[in-house]
Symmetry: C5
Subunit: 262 residues, 5 copies
């Protein structure tokens, strides 16, 4: 059993509780890396991979008191809040185990931005997937950047980022971009092309790859690629079985779509 | 990458934020042309076409802070609000990338009218489609006008507009007509007969054509007609395929409707 | 194009706006005849027929500012509110183009009663249908009366009305009966047996017929009977086609119901 | 036509209006017998039977102003509120024509208890059904009692009531039991085993039978038993027809359930 | 008939009423054992078994006044609140007969914790199931512990508890863990692997077994194992019948899944 997390300080921002387990200070330039469960689970997979590889320390958690039903994340028998914050050097990592309920997106997003300002974070960087139907046909998924702020812009130029040309972004990251200036932050959202409905570790790998460039730190993506290979094999197997079953139904699988989609 | 949009001025009207990127003044007679995503996407297609052809300057945006989930429109990597306002000479163009959520129609419509009054707009002109089942059988879709105000009426008489004889209009344009007098505005709504469910650039073309008459400026509609032709061809192709699939089912396509509608 | 309606006076009653287009006075005994879209559309059809036959003048409208989505009725290109009030001699006619949304039934009903009191209406008379499965088998639909008040009662006795023996009445007319006394009004609701789901001009004709007795004015119902005949023929045609299609399915139409209703 | 009901006195209790048509006084021991539309319609059938047999006088009604849509009960052309109160000697009878909407159960139940206290009612007695799958196999449905208060308890002992051993009771009667003491009342709920989905006059008959014991007055249940017999015959007929139709489908009716319930 | 429960004291905590039937005092170390209807009904079955075996005294109840519809639990004809509290020596038992409605989970959980603090409870112990698809293949279901507080931790070490390694816990127990420290309590949640959808007395038996270790009192689980055996036999029987029916459909049961999941 591990040592319990003791809350030494609690801040309430617009109904959201941020609970810190230890004192800490960030040196400039400082970063907050953020991932939520989303399309292809890119945000969740990426953040959990970063935590696995870089082994940052859990230094805070976010409790959403209004959450209904209330949810506890249990690890080694102990309570953890559904959103956890880790720290390594000048980088904070924020990862949510649960999809953010609709009525909490606004207050939570603003609480994170306000907290960044109070803890002197310079860059808030989101990792997420954009579900794409062309994803299946590509050797390697593309990665795009959306940003707000002059330093964020320069950072993309230096690191040869492809900007997200035209599209829509929903959820907390929309607020991170819209309100960056008001909270004196630089915002970057790294969007990796991903399967719309399947977990996509390969999409996470390209997001992490680009992040490592920005942060100028080496992060291995080998485990993500292994997981991607495993999912690819399983998916193929499922497709074969489906085709077989449809064949047994006395019609060829290829003849079905026209009717099924009518 | 383009120059970022800097907000130099922000007005809050009933919970709606109007953010201007530069100082501007309108000369009389001044116009606000408005399009929302609607039946046949006539409003959206028309406004985007006007922006493509006339190349007005993006001078303001409308943020709906209560929007849930929050939405950011990204262009060339940068944040844009979901509703944008452009200006060319004495004409403003307002286009929304998103359908207006039901609980926002009232405050947004009133905010637009109030903003028109503050910026001395004389005419507010909406472009929209009216889904019609007879649309398919017509060479060229019809265009109808609804209006409020004496000068709007004279403008239609001069430009030989066919008035919308009898029907129902829902959404922001209902408020534009109802409240024109209270906000000291002339209102015109240009309604083009359109497909109820398919994007209809040809319907947009007749709406734009009538608008160009009213504004006394030349606007090419060639690109809209090309897009219409492309959609027409694709639709025919889909219909052929459907007929083929239904034939394979062992019943003629013509025999189906009676059963399908039971 | 017709002359626009100019609002010369506006009364706000419990969130409902009543807008008058001209000064008027009613002589005693005065009446308000009311119809909403309802079962068999009896209320709507009846009121529109009365307006067609008696040619009363549009003198006021009712705006429901909270309506969501907002709705504008357009006639000859101009805005009309969804509820209109007409006047001929000592009779007002109130007709709604839209079904009243659930959250508006209470405030609208009370606003109408309050307005009746202020404008010295003596009798408020509702026309409506009661959907009946026996309607199909009858030569001529029956008409029943519900009422409140001594003079209303006498009026029915004189005009040989059949009272509505036992049943339930929902919507504005329930409030018209319940609150008649409080607003110093006589209430009569004329209920015509009607098709539950089809427009039923014949049901409207018997409601109008009884109304003409009460008001002691001659109103032709010829056009309603013509429309009824037209609907009857079209319905028969649809039924024939349905039987034919069901026959083609290899089972007789008569054998189906037992299974369909299981 | 009957004499209208004139409200001579109105009490508003927590948003519920109790309207009395005449002055009355109850002698001790006084009773309020209550029935709502419920499982097997036992409450409604019982109360309507009591009114038919004992011919009490309609002396009050309960109006629920917040009811949406508003509902009027019409009898002989005249308005009646959806809940009516009758009186005979020292007994009040309260019967609702409509199921109580969820958001009204609490305020209505408390208003009834408060009214009982103000009018010096000693016993509030509810009649209701408990839907039971074993109902079909029984010669005569069982009747059970739930109660609150010492005198209620004694009354059951004297009248050899079988107590309701274990179960759940939902709706107004749950509040009648829970709050009896607070309102200085004795509560009895008579629960008759009933069909869950069919009107069950026989279940009503055993409830009424036990009530007549408690009240020590003779009440014939012949008409309820006749109605029960009629329903029994019709149900059998429907079952026969169903079996026949299912037989025509080429499978025996007995083989179906396993599939139907899958 | 049993003696009625008389409320001698009532505490209102955040809209929840805790009603005590007698004076009592708890000696240290004191416990509150809690069970709700949940996955596999482990909480409900366990608590009802504990009450059956240890025969504690009913000393309090919890009323949820806002409950809609209101619910009364009837036992031997008398009203009981839906949540009951029993006492034996230094142990309180809290069992709910009803699933807690979503909008009541928060206030009820906090009211229980507050009540524990006021009545000097040291340990609050929840019993619950975690639905597991592997449950079917196991000889004996596993039991896991989640906890909060140093003494709770020591207690698990002494009693060789397996901690719940990683997972999510929803509902009141999430709050019991999260808020233990704030209310000066030790929290333990005993989670037994259970069928997700079937009542699972065997899962309850392992939860009770571990509880008896913690409390150092002997509790027989024989009756739970008998009930488990009975359910096992009935389930097998249902499965056999299903297979038979599916065989009669002319396809083997094994061939179905592909089609059923289409």
């Amino acid at each position: 059993m591990v040592k319990s997390l003791n809350i030494i300080r609690e801040e309430e921002i617009g109904g959201i509780l941020i609970q810190e387990y230890e004192e800490f200070k960030l040196e400039s330039p400082s970063f907050l890396i953020v991932g939520f469960p989303d399309a292809g689970l890119v945000g969740g997979i990426s953040l959990n991979h970063l935590i696995r590889e870089l082994n940052p320390k859990e230094i805070a958690g976010i409790d959403i008191p209004r959450l209904n039903p209330p949810i506890a994340i249990i690890r080694k028998g102990e309570y953890h809040p559904p959103i956890r914050i880790f720290k390594k050097d000048n980088i904070l990592f924020l990862v949510s185990e649960i999809p953010i309920p609709a009525n909490t997106v606004q207050p939570l997003s603003y609480a994170i931005l306000e907290y960044c300002m109070r803890r002197r974070v310079d860059y808030v960087i989101g990792l997420t997937g954009i579900g794409s139907t062309e994803r299946l046909n590509k050797e390697k998924p593309d990665v795009f950047i959306a940003y707000e702020g002059d330093q964020a812009k320069r950072m993309i130029l230096i690191n040869e980022g492809k900007v997200f040309d035209e599209g829509m972004l929903m959820g907390p990251f929309a607020i991170f971009l819209k309100e960056a200036k008001r909270f004196n932050l630089q915002s970057l959202i790294i969007l990796a092309e991903s399967f719309p409905d399947l977990p996509d570790p390969e999409a996470a790998s390209v997001a992490v790859e680009y992040l490592s460039k920005i942060l100028s730190i080496k992060i291995s993506i080998d485990k993500l690629l292994e997981e991607a290979e495993y999912i690819r094999l399983r998916t193929k197997e499922i497709m074969k079985q489906t085709a077989k079953v449809m064949g047994q139904m006395g019609r060829s699988a290829e003849a079905q779509p026209g009717i099924l989609y009518t």
